[in-house]
Symmetry: C2
Subunit: 290 residues, 2 copies
């Protein structure tokens, strides 16, 4: 997905919110905002929004000297999700369609996104989970997803955020885990999950775990490590969580299912849904898509 | 009032909205957004937000080759207000406190502001007027305003937007008109009132009319004409309509009453009110303020 002009004011708002989250120094806030203005003035709008996210968050880390400003926020989100996990695992086990419920709960976890807003409250997580218990996904997309998961020989699951990755475990447990690799970001950026969060989620004992070698809050393939790109190309099914992965991979010609909460009007327009909606959709570049 | 960092994303949104309002060419939209990014990156945040508004709208006029892109919007707003005027004049005449009602209706007219949003609908105008019929202003501020108007020898009334200036007539008719001068912008910027709108409002027959010699959507004194600055300095009471006049004059040491609708959170915080509230307040720099 390209960067729309509506994304520009949002970049500035995000840069300001993030600078205030990681520093109390007004000079830091102003420096980050001014530098974001300069970067945005020159950026190619053919690139996806996470390309700018990468630059903004590199800047924040450089200006604050803090390599992982969202560490506490990530720990908090992981703890919230881990506290909910046993009950949710029980509910999935008892469900009429465990796979469908697990997919919905994994999407609900995508509410824990500090790229779109500067705070996620506990009630927002529980409310998203409560909705996931009752709402349903697009039936055709769900069946295509189920069938793709069943028949795939090599599944690559692209995680998104800390906390969310704990709830992804519900879905991963419903998949052929011996054929599944979970990938996280190569280093800390916003509250995106890294290897540490995957370990906290207990995924090391279930599946193969890799990082993508990049600090983009999404998956820009040419910025990922060669070994990750090889994994991506060899996987016959990619499951991509979150808006950032949708924005960076929606135009890539590969069999990809996107699972996320549509949190901004630009994305909602791009996927033709409402803001706030849980989305399960297949990439648009292949002829055999739903 | 200085430019707060929250104003920066808003400048970009305004530049994008305005470029779409005045042109259908995506290249124009992108050019205006990029140039606004460059201007904002270098601007002094000690200046008030309308200093940037001036730059954005000069840019829009230059890029589109249209000297008055809001001409139709201004005509529409004048027509709406003129249609309402006779009934409102009647209501003011019949009111227990004509001066207070006229002040509230003049403030209600400030809803017609295309700097804050790209469209104002007819229902928003009638709804603001309906609220003005019943709501009340800060009683102390109102009595101070009434008394200042009664005792002033030389009143300078700074108009804000087209349409709004028609409703300002209700208040001007309650003032000592022989001692009142109404000032408008020196040339077209956004939907701000110019001499043409003052004439349409019928003010030429009631008061002395001047323009301020500037294309700032507010009143930055050093950018106004020397003759306007002299009028300003000689007036013992200034009545300033609208957010732009508040933003540019709130720190000026002169007896000024500000009348406007608080339409953004930054202004609302600055004057300590709620967004959407009708505000009547006296400038903060004099010792004898309410």
């Amino acid at each position: 997905m390209r960067t729309y002009l509506e994304c520009i004011p949002c970049f500035l708002r995000q840069a300001l919110d993030a600078s205030r989250l990681v520093s109390r120094d007004p000079e830091v806030h102003e420096r980050v905002v001014r530098e974001t203005l300069r970067l945005a003035a020159e950026m190619s709008f053919d690139r996806s929004p996470p390309a700018m996210g990468q630059q903004i968050h590199r800047l924040l880390r450089a200006v604050t000297g803090n390599d992982d400003p969202y560490r506490e926020a990530k720990q908090w989100a992981n703890e919230q999700a881990l506290a909910l996990l046993p009950t949710l695992q029980e509910r999935v086990r008892a469900a009429d369609d465990p796979f469908a419920l697990a997919a919905r709960l994994s999407i609900a976890g995508n509410i824990i996104d500090l790229g779109c807003k500067s705070e996620v409250r506990k009630e927002e997580i529980t409310s998203a989970i409560e909705s996931a218990m009752h709402d349903s996904l697009d039936a055709d997309a769900l069946e295509a997803f189920r069938s793709a998961v069943e028949s795939a020989k090599d599944i690559l699951f692209l995680a998104d955020n800390a906390g969310e990755i704990v709830l992804d475990r519900l879905l991963i447990e419903q998949m052929p885990m011996e054929r599944t690799t979970v990938a996280v970001r190569g280093r800390a950026v916003i509250n995106d999950a890294t290897i540490e969060d995957a370990k906290v989620a207990g995924l090391t004992e279930l599946v193969r775990l890799v990082d993508n070698g990049s600090d983009v809050p999404g998956t820009i393939l040419e910025l990922c490590s060669p070994s990750f790109r090889q994994l991506f190309n060899e996987a016959d099914l990619v499951i991509a969580k979150g808006q950032g992965n949708y924005e960076t991979l929606s135009d890539v010609d590969h069999d990809i299912f996107f699972l996320f909460q549509a949190k901004c009007p630009v994305i909602a327009r791009d996927v033709e849904c409402e803001v706030g909606q849980a989305v399960l959709c297949r990439g648009q570049t292949r002829g055999d898509n739903v």
